[in-house]
């Protein structure tokens, strides 16, 4: 969900906006957002989605918060990818009497897509490992049932590990459970990263300029 939004923002920043003070200010803002600790996003999510918008502690609130968390990463990755598209492609298309919008849609975006996707997937894998945002917005420490989509509380893997390892009186006994959860988490992150790598190398092979 953050992906289209981030890509649109990046297109605006690199292709349309006049490169002046305002754009630079936005870019600085976006970059510093990327550096903000995730706890802050979690608290923001709690304040905005859970309390203010009255979502309650639900998956939706967690998902939206994570979306905001990875937005700067996606914008950054997309901007880089768009800037990497040779200016000669844009010129070639525009010189044929193709509009700017169609040029972006047909030439610039497809060329930038591998970069956008890999950058974004790495952002997503970061989100998978984040605890704080979900802790505040969506997670409970333990539920026995599988969550119903969207409006239910869930267990977040990292948070689950954290609680298992630190609280309770039977830390030793829960070790296998902890290891199991960590394994799932690591496998998940690795899997997502792997997809990113595969996409990049697959699409990179098609494009040489």
């Amino acid at each position: 969900m953050a992906l289209p939004l981030g890509v649109v923002a990046a297109i605006y920043l690199t292709e349309y906006a006049k490169q002046g003070k305002i754009v630079r200010a936005i870019r600085v803002g976006v970059n510093s957002l990327a550096g903000v600790p995730s706890v802050v996003f979690g608290l923001f999510g709690l304040g905005f989605f859970v309390v203010f918008m009255n979502f309650g502690s639900y998956i939706l609130a967690g998902a939206l918060t994570l979306g905001i968390l990875i937005l700067p990463t996606i914008i950054g990755a997309s901007e880089e990818a768009l800037k990497g598209v040779p200016q000669t492609f844009r010129e070639a298309s525009l010189a044929l009497g193709v509009s700017k919008w169609l040029t972006i849609w047909k030439i610039v975006l497809p060329s930038a897509l591998p970069g956008i996707l890999t950058g974004s997937i790495l952002g997503i894998s970061r989100a998978a490992g984040e605890t704080a945002p979900i802790m505040f917005t969506a997670a409970t420490f333990f539920t026995a049932k599988l969550p119903q989509p969207i409006f239910d509380e869930v267990m977040a893997l990292p948070y689950h590990v954290y609680v298992l390892a630190t609280s309770g009186t039977h830390i030793e006994e829960t070790r296998p459970l902890q290891f199991g959860t960590v394994l799932v988490l690591v496998a998940l992150v690795l899997g997502v990263d792997l997809i990113a790598i595969v996409i990049r190398s697959y699409m990179g092979r098609k494009k040489r300029w």
Binding site: E91, A92, A95, L96, W209
Partner: protein, 257 residues
């Protein structure tokens, strides 16, 4: 009507001044380009030839801070009128760049890219158009069996002819060429020169070149530029045998530049 074009002229610039920010790249350029003729623009590096060329189809619009004063009349219409759509202008005034710049697509998709997005031509019409354009650009024999393959596998000279074919597929009236052969070997260059000679039957061609022999060989009229000014504009024969201005002679005979 003051702006009515005569039969022979197609583009006319009137007192053009051009600025990159505060830097004035062209000063008071007034010149007329004739229909179905090849006009060559020559002059030392940095004198503003590319700037003038890109100004004729509003490609300079893309540069931040670029500013034009004066008028460019295309068939009597000022293309810098606020009501004119630059996209429409570029459809009618095509451009070939110094470095071949095919899209990373198949040969077929390169040629049909423009028409597909700007017209309603169906598949068979596009196929016919591709064949016609490739034949015009003398690339058909080499490319007809590999239309589905990436344009990137072509040689530089072939890529440049593909770019010409791609521009021709839009059926423009004018073709602007900015040093189209400077990145090519002599054989490819000769092919493109032959091609230009053939194309002028149908199109008006304005070409920037650093190669004096090339200008002399292929053009009907030649304009000599120096530091943003049009020094002399005359029939090519006259420019190369008996120029009116001393500076022109010095440049052509290689005494400076």
């Amino acid at each position: 009507m003051e702006n009515a074009p005569s039969d022979t002229e197609i583009i006319k610039t009137k007192n053009i001044d051009f600025y990159y920010g505060t830097f004035k790249a062209l000063t008071d350029i007034t010149m007329t380009f004739e229909k179905n003729k090849v006009t060559a623009l020559i002059g030392p590096s940095g004198c503003g030839k590319s700037t003038l060329l890109r100004l004729l189809n509003r490609m300079n619009d893309l540069i931040d801070g670029a500013r034009v004063e004066g008028e460019v009349l295309f068939e009597g219409m000022n293309i810098y009128d606020p009501e004119v759509d630059p996209v429409e202008i570029r459809r009618r005034i095509g451009m070939v760049f110094q470095k071949p710049n095919p899209f990373p697509k198949s040969i077929f998709n390169n040629i049909t890219y423009g028409p597909r997005l700007t017209s309603t031509a169906n598949k068979s019409a596009l196929e016919a158009l591709a064949e016609q354009s490739l034949k015009q650009a003398v690339l058909w024999e080499e490319a007809k069996d590999i239309l589905g393959r990436s344009a990137m596998i072509l040689s530089g000279g072939q890529q440049q002819r593909l770019c010409i074919a791609r521009a021709l597929a839009m059926k423009p009236d004018v073709l602007l060429m900015d040093e189209p052969t400077s990145a090519l070997d002599p054989i490819s260059t000769a092919k493109i020169e032959e091609l230009i000679d053939e194309l002028k039957k149908t199109y008006t061609i304005i070409i920037v070149t650093h190669n004096m022999q090339q200008a002399a060989r292929i053009s009907d009229k030649t304009g000599f530029f120096y530091i943003g000014k049009l020094i002399e504009y005359n029939a090519t024969e006259k420019i190369f045998t008996n120029p009116d201005v001393k500076q022109t002679e010095d440049y052509i005979t290689g005494r400076f530049g």
